[in-house]
Symmetry: D2
Subunit: 145 residues, 4 copies
């Protein structure tokens, strides 16, 4: 059965807008990070703890389509999903909705690798963090495993 | 003959780093905007003037691959290129290099539409800003026209 | 009796840290804005509506002391207070606490003026927005009125 | 004789504006950091090297007055000055000008302490980095020493 956390939700801040009168696109990218870390936290995979355990998960790529503008003070809701994970790479997919109208505001994906926090070299999560590996696998939909 | 502006160049700021010890990926996305507007300025297409003339060019999508980390105070150089333009949509491609080593740090693309700054409705640039249209076309490589 | 809204609370985001390993000081300044607008919203003074009514409230000055570092994922709580308001100028005071330890993380103040959103000239709030004026006055502690 | 570096200069970026149509005040605070690090670099006190040598210089307080708005694409120039330094604390003063009109846009000050980069405890710069100490002292105006 798929892991279904509560979607991440908050309002857009004033300083996130630009002079076009809505949120600057780079901030939608930052929101994906907020949503991803919230998704992990809900699964008891706290990223702050991961880093303390010596594992970092840098972003190796990001893509986003901006469909409906989000304005200051509007609430938005992000549905995050882990769509790929093999212990070497992970890919998240995101859908951002305007909370009030339910309109799709943006879609996005982020790709990640796993590095040793000190040496900054690739880590096989399966070997070095087997418990974390199993718990990440369990976040995938059955057809994504 | 292709338009070849001077690549955009500056150093990474301290506040652009995060606790991983290098620049946060969202800032590479912001740099693309800096590079794009510099590319336009060098072609005498000043975006601030465009907006005053009632034409805005929002970002409809962005994609970026992060290859080599950029650290605080490192100089980087972005080669921007207009790879698609038809008066309704425009696509830019970017390559970000570390100035000192010449290593590729990131690649990216941004897609744009053209809207009336007040009504926020699509504008046919060809009809309403024919001079701007011709000058943008001239920025494309011959095989991209 | 003094207006006592619920303190503003959230966690620090990853992208708000810098390579020192805690939140960059400029973000504490941004948090003050979040706390101020939340303070107003709780008093049914929605800033987004204010702007639609043609009144803007730019920041004319800000000051902040940083006492204890806030780290990624730590929850913080900001107690905001309107300490001066005369319809021409407003001053807010803020105290930021770490939610878990209760330690004081930062203090700050922001000063504001009131401008016509279109003409960008000073507005006498008392004359032009008498209802808003009275409601702001009521947010002051009795000894600050 | 006073140390007189070249003022720090650049243009305001689009993403630094907010929906008021000019640069968000938190970005003026970030600019102070850019100007300070440039001031140090011109004096051959490279902050990136300082951190590698185990010395960090966090911001303990900041204050800024915003006088004239800076708009997208406008060039600004920051005159930074070290006004206090005793090896335990340092204070910088800043004046930000619009390059074209010469108008004063903002003033500001930032206060700093010196910490061991690993232990995060106060460091006596005079004892542990005597050469750095002397070179910082030399940046003060004679009447500030």
């Amino acid at each position: 059965m798929a892991y279904k956390p509560v979607p991440y939700e908050r309002r857009a801040y004033y300083y996130e807008t630009d002079q076009m009168g809505f949120v600057h696109h780079s901030n939608y990218i930052r929101w994906l990070e907020e949503a991803r870390l919230d998704f992990m936290r809900q699964a008891n995979l706290n990223y702050a703890d991961m880093e303390k355990d010596g594992l970092i998960m840098p972003v190796t790529g990001v893509t986003s389509q901006f469909i409906t503008s989000v304005h200051f003070d509007e609430a938005f809701r992000i549905v995050a999903k882990l769509i790929f994970f093999n212990g070497v790479r992970a890919v998240y997919h995101y859908e951002t909705y305007l909370s009030q109208s339910g309109k799709l505001a943006a879609t996005g994906e982020s790709s990640h690798c796993f590095l040793d926090g000190v040496k900054r070299t690739p880590v096989s999560v399966k070997t070095r963090y087997p418990d974390f590996f199993e718990r990440c696998l369990a976040l995938l939909d059955e057809d994504d495993r």
